[in-house]
Amino acid sequence: MPDFPYLEDQDVVEVQRGPEPGGVGGAYRAFGETLRGLKTTMARLIEGPMTIQYPEEKTPVYPRFRGRHKLHRFEDTGLEKCVGCSLCAAACPADCIRVVAAENIPGERVSAGERYAAVYEINLSRCIFCGYCEIACPFDAITMGHDYEMADYGREDLIFTKEMLLAEPLDRTPLKAEGE
């Protein structure tokens, strides 16, 4: 006997229905269903609001959420991880990364490698947040951060320079709790 709601030798599926509208049965049904509805809404009231009060309270994101990019430094030496190889720019499908590399001068090193990124710009108005730059980077110098508040007044404000990408975000985006 298969676990189907119908029998194989029957063409018609029997569905249980309440009383038809109208008449005493209909009135009873309407009354009962009204009470059920009232119970449902009251349960919602008791559960309380689920709204996230956005500007004060941010939506938590998953750890792998792809938000605005971040450039990183080595924690011990403070040197930039980026060596200006332009692999991220090559991988970028939206063509929004611009890298101009320069040679490191001994004595005033900027990065750990031979060269460093003299100009590193990401045009966030073009970026599609695919994360290919992160994958392409051989030194983990660029990663996708968790910030998603990037609205600004002009297009030129959305071109993020190296200094902006290296800086810590003003306030951190909360992460989702385990299992949330």
């Binding site: 009135a27 509805g37 009232l38 809404t41 009231l45 609001p49 709204t51």
Partner: protein, 332 residues
């Protein structure tokens, strides 16, 4: 017990004036709070907060709304009938305020009756001025020169006729049991047992008809914001629209007040006598909460269902209720 209110009871004119001023001030203080409470409650019923930005807990929201509405241009469509168009929102307010007068907030204490006036015909007065408000709705909808408004007004008229009858009959049982038309005497008659117990059918019919009277869901046919774009209010803007909105809440307060007095024992409650108005207000608040609860729950009825419910279910039920009550009262 007198079948009519005690007409020998007179108060000084200045007491009457002070009383009416107090009632006016209290009710018109409650109405704006009610708007924000309703919005907050509806929000909570839907897992939201509702307005909570203006002032502490969003309590200043009505002030912001009022300021917005008042500062709008007083607009009138070209093909509207000027006098009737202006009269539209005024009449319901008049009727609502007049109906407030008979809601009993307490017994006669120290020679002062804690009610606006104990009119001899009592509850009939409530129906008389209550239906007056629908003239405003009708005139407003008809005179604004818009098809939506006219449709809304027609629906309003049909709805009023259908539900006013059941509403009156629902109260008939209470009048028979109380043996008086005066609301004060009816509250006195509930000393032993609130009329909601023997008259539960009447109470339910009265509340249902009350939803229809105040144009609340599930009977907000005349407004029907989804299909008629607010019905008779379509062409109104600014504070004229605002007064229609205010009237809705005023009518809720009036209907809940009458229901509390007729069925829930009015001002009766434990505690000293100065607590009487508080008890009355508490009972009204419970009923108002029920109004909002129902609004958050039920969808709008289809028009023919509305008419069918009014004429085929409520009217026979109410008539039967009156009949059974009358037989029982005569028999015992």
């Amino acid at each position: 017990m007198l079948p009519l209110a005690d007409t020998q009871f007179v108060e000084a004119t200045w007491i009457m004036v002070v009383k009416s001023l107090i009632i006016f001030a209290v009710i018109f203080g409650i109405v704006p709070v009610l708007t924000v409470v309703e919005r907050k409650l509806i929000g909570r019923f839907q897992h939201r907060y509702g307005p909570n930005r203006v002032g502490p807990f969003g309590l200043l929201q009505p002030l912001a709304d009022l300021f917005k509405l008042i500062s709008k241009q007083g607009f009138r469509p070209d093909n509207a009938i000027p006098l009737l168009y202006v009269l539209g929102p005024l009449l319901p307010i008049l009727s609502g305020v007049m109906a407030l007068a008979i809601i009993p907030w307490g017994d006669v204490q120290d020679g002062v009756g804690l009610y606006g006036i104990d009119v001899p015909i009592g509850i009939l007065y409530f129906f008389a001025v209550g239906s007056l408000g629908f003239y405003g709705l009708l005139l407003g909808g008809w005179s604004s020169g818009s098809k939506y408004s006219l449709l809304g007004a027609m629906r309003g008229a049909a709805q009023l006729i259908s539900y006013e009858v059941s509403m009156g009959l629902a109260l008939f049982g209470v009048i028979i049991m109380g043996g008086s038309l005066s609301l004060v005497d009816i509250v006195h008659a509930q000393g032993a047992l609130w009329f909601v117990v023997p008259q539960i059918v009447g109470f339910l019919i009265f509340m249902l008809a009350g939803f229809a009277e105040t144009n609340r869901t599930p009977f907000d046919m005349p407004e029907a914001d989804a299909e008629l774009v607010q019905g008779y209010m379509t062409e109104y803007g600014g504070m004229r629209f605002g007064s229609f909105l205010m009237v809705e809440y005023l009518e809720i307060i009036v209907v809940c007040g009458v229901a509390a007095a007729m069925f829930l024992g009015g001002w009766m409650g434990p505690g000293p006598s100065w607590l009487d108005p508080v008890w009355m207000l508490a009972k009204m608040s419970v009923l108002v909460f029920f109004f909002i609860w129902v609004r958050a729950t039920l969808p709008r009825l289809r028009y023919d269902q509305l008419m069918g419910l009014g004429w085929k279910v409520l009217l026979p039920l109410a008539t039967l209720n009156v009949l059974v009550t009358a037989v029982l009262v005569v028999a015992t």
